[in-house]
Structures are given as C-alpha cells and as structure tokens.
C-alpha cells in the first residue's frame, strides 16, 4: 500500500502521466457504465438488429453536435406517435359501418436543411375489409399538398419519397425537398414554421381501427451518428471501450506475466530447461505472428471470436522476444547473496522463483505491461480492419472496417471513421503516456537521460 501511494506520488511529478491516468480512469468509468447500461446480450441484440430495431433512424448521417459547426442547421429525426405532443386523432361516424378516422401530426420545422426522407408507418385492425387512408400535407404558408392514398393491411408503410405520382405533382422535385421548399424561389429553400401531416382514414367495420406513426428522417442523429444499416454508432462506440480495455489489459498481462515466469524458470533451473526454453524461443521467432492470427481468424471455427484470438496472441507471445530481456535481469538477480541465503535455509525451487526472483522484476514488468497495452488495443483493431474482427461484438476496429468497406472516406462520411479512430488514439496515447512515466519512475537510470 505504501509502495502504491509512493508510486502515485511519483506519477504526480509527470503531468503527461497524470493526463494519461485521468484518461484511463474516464475510460474505465465509461466501460463500467456501458456494461451496466447496455448489458452484453443487449449490446449484441442491438448491434445485430435490423429494421425492426433501427427502422426509425436515418441512414449514414453524422452526429447531431455537428450542427454546432454548420452554418445551415440540419434536421434531427422526428418520430411522431399516437399520444405524442402535436398528434391528434378524432373519429366521427359517417354511416353505420363506416367511421372516419382523422390523425393530424403537427410539428415545427426550424432547420435550414431538408430531411433525409419521410415515411408513415400504418397499423390497422380489421376483420375483412381493409381500412383506407389518404394523406395531405399543409405547409406553414397555407398550401395544401395532396399526398398518396393507401389501403392499409395489418402493417403498411407509405414512403413519401417513393411516391412517383407525388413527384410528378411536385414537378419532378423529390418530395423531401418539394414538401418543404418555397415554390417561388429558384434554389430550394426551407419554409420554416409549423407543418401538418393529415391522415384521413376510413374504416369499414365496427371494431376496425387505424393507427400511424410518422417519421421524419433527419440529416443528423444522436451523439455519434448512424451507419449504413441505420444503427446508432453510440452503441458500438460505448461497447468498444470495455472490449478495447479488457483485450489490451488481458493480452498485456497474459503475455508479460507468462513470459516473465518462463524466463525465471529457465534461469533458475538452467541447463536443459534453459536450453529448451531458448530453442522454443527461436522456433517462436520463426513463426509469422500476424499471418498466423489471420489464419486462425479465417480457418478456425470460432476463430474470429475476440477471446479465441486473445488466447492465440498470448500463446504466440509467451516465448516472445521479451524473454531475453527478463532473462538478462534474472541472471543478475540469481547471483545475489540473498538468494544464496534463501537457498541455504532450504527454500524450495518454486518458493525461490515466486517469492524471491519474480518480485525483483516487478519494477521492470509494470512499465512494460502498461506500455504493451496500446499495442494490443491496436492489434484488435488491426485484425478487425483486415475483416477478421469478432463477428458479433461491436468494436472500434469493426467500425473503422465497416466505414472503410462502405466507402465512408470516399463519400465524405468522416465522422464514421474519425470517432472510433480518435477513441483508439486516445486510449493508446493514455497508456503510452502512463507507461512512459512509469518506466522512468521504476528505472531511475532512465531519469537522468
């Protein structure tokens, strides 16, 4: 404990390390929040979900906060359901078997940009005769534009943008623009104010009813924007945090600790054991690290699971290059008098290794471990960019891969690449900064240079 507080005190002398530590703590907090707020199974369900979950989101739009940097504000998505403010529904009896259902959606539109698209999702209850609905659009300047008509099955979608007749009525202008633009101006300009979408339905049965949800798909969405499958990137950005941290930490811990113990065993027992370990290290040196990981990811069943990859990373690194460094230090430590003393009073081999040799190397181990974390965080992203990321979990690397393979760089959807990349960079830098300072704290020889 004393050692721990001393280290903390030392760290305070390095402002960069303080920044690094602060970032790491924020990230850990974010990771814990994520795991509690969106449990593992929920995250997978969301990320693998299709239109049923993400249907009300616009496709590939940047985050809402980008509006702060725009001269022309872009609309956010507006979903109006029954019971929301601005939605009224009235029913009047026309005749014995015919009821008139009128639903009005009233909303303010104060943006400079046009929406991505507009849809009305109908649901209806009926026995035999399908309810019928016709729609009209009232602009702030009082014009009324007739939209389409539709016979509503149990679930029916009217996509205003794909109504060819409406396009013709609007003189070939896309409805998403035509419905909002001022008809007197040459360049399409939004008429700001209160719009109304009126759905006039007729139901033909006693028990029959009609309901509808109006979705105005925006040009910006949420905290992080959406991808090509309308998914909210926030889910992936959040879940990338615990995955990146745990993968980096577990891989770094697994590789450094096992390597160190193997080195200690080799040095302590010497002779055949040491020779064998050296030979295995040479074999390991010949093995192509990244190609093997790619092969595992491509060929093996479950090989793309992040935990399987983690296992292979550790297995391939146990006899890695680090063993020589630890070996050199252990060789020095082995000659120390206190080891001889311990031997003299009859300490067992394992006791000597675990309680006498290993603790001496911890000052070297900890900075090495922290500095190794970014490498593994980026390794996970690297594999994802090669298309062998975990098949079900959303990770930062997979976002970059998705973005790249869907041409985000070519289409100007930079937010899609930049957000995960910046997060990766921040985590990588934080651990690198901390590791760097720890290296100097634990190895005073470096402090002079």
């Amino acid at each position: 404990m004393k050692w721990f507080t001393q280290t903390l005190k030392d760290i305070r002398q390095y402002p960069s390390a303080v920044i690094g530590l602060a970032i790491i703590l924020v990230m850990v907090g974010m990771a814990i929040y994520t795991i509690i707020a969106i449990p593992y199974s929920e995250a997978i369900r969301l990320w693998r979900g299709g239109e049923d979950i993400w249907g009300d989101n616009p496709r590939t739009v940047p985050p809402a906060w980008t509006n702060l940097f725009r001269e022309q504000t872009q609309p956010e998505t507006l979903v109006l359901r029954m019971g929301d403010e601005g939605v009224t529904k009235s029913t009047s009896v026309i005749s014995e078997n015919m009821d008139d259902v009128t639903i009005e959606y009233t909303f303010d539109y104060d943006y400079d940009g046009f929406p991505q698209s507009l849809s009305v999702f109908f649901t209806a209850q009926y026995e035999e005769r399908l309810p019928h609905a016709s729609m009209s659009w009232v602009t702030p300047d009082g014009r009324t534009i007739r939209l389409g008509e539709i016979s509503v099955g149990s679930a029916e979608t009217y996509r205003i943008d794909q109504d060819d007749r409406l396009v013709r009525r609007l003189d070939g202008v896309e409805p998403r623009i035509g419905l909002f633009a001022d008809p007197d101006l040459e360049t399409p300009t939004v008429v700001k104010g209160t719009y109304t979408l009126r759905v006039e339905g007729v139901v033909f049965e006693e028990e029959s009813d009609l309901d509808a949800r109006f979705v105005l798909y925006g040009q910006v969405h949420g905290l992080a924007g959406t991808d090509h499958r309308r998914r909210d990137l926030t889910v992936a950005l959040l879940w990338g945090t615990p995955i990146a941290l745990s993968f980096g930490l577990l891989a770094a811990l697994g590789t450094t600790v096992t390597t160190m113990i193997i080195a200690a065993i080799g040095v302590w027992f010497g002779g055949v054991v040491d020779g064998l370990i050296q030979r295995i290290t040479e074999i390991n040196m010949v093995l192509p690290f990244l190609p093997i990981l790619i092969m595992v990811g491509t060929f093996f069943e479950n090989g793309r699971s992040i935990w399987v990859i983690l296992g292979w990373v550790i297995a391939l690194s146990i006899f890695g290059a680090g063993i020589k460094g630890y070996r050199a230090i252990f060789l020095q430590v082995k000659e120390s008098p206190y080891i001889e003393a311990a031997q003299a009073y009859g300490a067992s081999n394992w006791r000597l290794i675990i309680s006498y040799l290993v603790p001496r190397i911890i000052p070297v181990l900890i900075p090495g471990l922290v500095s190794a974390i970014p490498a593994y965080v980026f390794l996970e992203a690297s594999l994802a960019v090669l298309g062998i990321g975990d098949p079900i979990l959303p990770t930062w690397g997979k976002l970059i891969d998705d973005a790249r393979s869907n041409g985000a760089l070519h289409n100007g959807q930079y937010y899609w690449v930049l957000q995960p990349a910046v997060l990766l960079m921040v985590v990588g830098l934080a651990f690198a900064l901390l590791g760097f300072a720890l290296d100097r704290i634990f190895n005073p020889r470096l402090r002079e240079v």
């Binding site: 960069s16 040095v267 010497g270 002779g271 040491d274 020779g275 050296q278 030979r279 040479e282 074999i283 390991n284 040196m285 010949v286 093995l287 192509p288 690290f289 990244l290 190609p291 093997i292 790619i294 092969m295 595992v296 491509t298 060929f299 093996f300 290059a321 020589k324 460094g325 050199a328 060789l331 500095s371 970014p374 490498a375 593994y376 980026f378 390794l379 992203a381 690297s382 960019v385 090669l386 970059i400 790249r404 760089l409 070519h410 100007g412 930079y414 690449v417 930049l418 990349a421 990766l424 960079m425 990588g428 830098l429 651990f431 690198a432 900064l433 760097f436 020889r445 002079e448 240079v449």
Partner: protein
Amino acid sequence: MSENALAVQPDVEQPAQKSASTSNMLLKLLRYSGLKLGALLIAVVIGIYLTILIANMGGYVDRILKGQIREQVSISVGMDPEIRQLPAEQRNQIIEEYISVEEERLGLNQPFLIRSFRFLYRALTLNLGRAQFMSSDSGSRLVSNIILERLPPTLLYMATANLLLFFVSLFFALYLSRNYGSLLDKLVIALSPISAAPAWFYGIFLILLFAAVLGWLPFGGMVAAPPPQDLVGRALSIGRHLILPVTAWLVSGFFGSVYGWRTFFLIFSMEDYVELARAKGLSDREVERRYILRPTLPNIITNFALMLITLWQGAIIAETIFNWPGLGRLLFQAIGHFDTAVIVGSAVIYAYLLAFTVFFLDFIYAIVDPRVRVGSGGAH
C-alpha cells in the same frame, strides 16, 4: 503492434583467456557455429512444420477444399446437357470420377499427415510448387512467380519507408544525444507515445486528409489507372502513390525510434571512457565516432539486419489499407483463398532469411566488437 519486434541480443561472452591457442580457438569456433547453425535449422524446421499445420489447420482446410470441389464439379456437370440426360447412376459416377481427378490434382487423395511431411520437405528445399487458386498477373501458377511478381512493389514501399526511418532516426537521435535537454529533445520525448499506433492507423488519417478532403494525393494503389506510357510519367505516378504510405510508416515509427536510439546513445555516452576521451580534449565528432558509435555498432547492425528481413514480409495491413500490390497483401489474399502453398512459401523464405541473418550476425559481432569472443562458460 510492430509486426516484427524481435530484439535479438548477441550472445556476448566474457573475454576468454588470451592464452588459448589459435587452433584450439578455431576448433571452438567451428563447434560453436556448428551447434548454433544446427539449433537454428531445427528451429526453422519445427517453425515451418507448425506453420504448415496451422495453414492447413490439421486437415480442416482439406475438408473445406473437398467440399468446394464437390460443389464446383456438381455445378459444372449439371450445366453439361449431354451428361444431364444420362441416368442418375451414371451421372453420379461421372461426378465422382471428376472429383477424384480434381482431388488428385490438388493432392487431396492422400492422408494429411503424409502430405504435411511432403509439404515440409518441399518447403525446406524451397521447392514451393504451385498455388492452388491464385495466379500471378502474368498468369503463372508457380508460387515462386507469384511471390517474385509482388516482391518489387513491397521492396519499393518497405525499403523506401524503412531505410528512411532507420537512417533519419539514427542520425537525428545522435544529434539529440549531443543536445540533450534541449527544447527539440523534450519535444521528441513528449511525442514518442505517438509510435504506439501502427502505420495503417495513421494511414487512415492521411487518406482522409490528403485524399478525401484536400484531394491532393491518391487514395491508394501503386500507379494511376491507366498507367502512364512513358517511363518518367510512370515513375512520377508511382512516386505520388508512394507518398502517403511512406508518410504513414514514418509517422508511426519515427518518434519511438528516435527516442529509443537517443536513450541508447545517451547511456553509452555516460560511460567513464567517454568522459575520459572528452577530458583528453578530443573533439565531439571524434568522441562520437570512436567512443559512442563504435561500441554501439553491434546493436546498430542488428537492428539494420532485422529491419532488412522485415522488408521481406511487407506490411500486411498498411498494404491492405493503401491497396498496395505487395507481398503483405498477397499473403492476406492467400489466406482468404485458403491457398496454403503461398502462405507456406512466404513463411519459409522469411524463416530462412531470419535464421541466416541471426547466424551471421554472431560473426559480424566478433568482427566489429573485439569484446565478443567465443569462449567457454556462460549458461548457453
């Protein structure tokens, strides 16, 4: 993660007693190098065999291939109107016949264990054989041709990037070690964590900035399409395509490398004999050349040699990101096609290069560093 972070330390032995006779010395040298070479070759054999096992996944890839063959043969037979009219029994017989011919062509009719040793023998004798599915752009199926075709682009990229990185960071580090504590020195230290991210990562940023936003440089590839006809135009086009990949490599490697060398030189320049040389009144240049560079030469050579080997492997991800038609991308494509011949071919050449480099480095140490002597003792 750097794709080849191997730090091979020389087996530095304590100076042996000078009284050893020359012939005794030579015998020891022969024995030592024989043992060393043997150990390295065994490592190569086992390493390659493991690679073969993984590349074939202990026979699992065979089953995938067999399934693919069956599907292809069934489809092609089904398309043939003459065979389609035959009765089912006869048709199946023809399908089985075709399948066995195809399996024989790929050597799948023998058990995997036997084949794995045959693979090993062929790989070790550098008889790389034919690719199963891939072919070179010139149409050759020979693995050696496929690899040779991809070698120049990889060498061009990796050699440009790595040689630049190596020498620029080395000399810059020397400069910093002379001026240590200066503002520039502190800046490099502060920036060294930048090297935590790999080259492809900066590649994405660079593509975004220079290709997508500014439109100054191409997104990727090696030469404009269609390639310019004249030599100068083509060279210029390749040069333009080379800028971003090389910059990405440099950004990722530079600060970490400079920091490493700088610290290394500083540790050596604090030795007593350096102080003594300074006290004697030797010029800075002289001190640097004779008392700092000379003892660090083995390390510089090691790093240079290992850097040269890594050229061979190319950069799998950076090449993929930049669509660079090099060996790294070839390897990635080969894995995607289950083309084990190409994977093993690439691995075996790397293994040999590495083993021989490590072997010869020992001799180079002995030449450049008189402290290194083959001697007895030391737990090797």
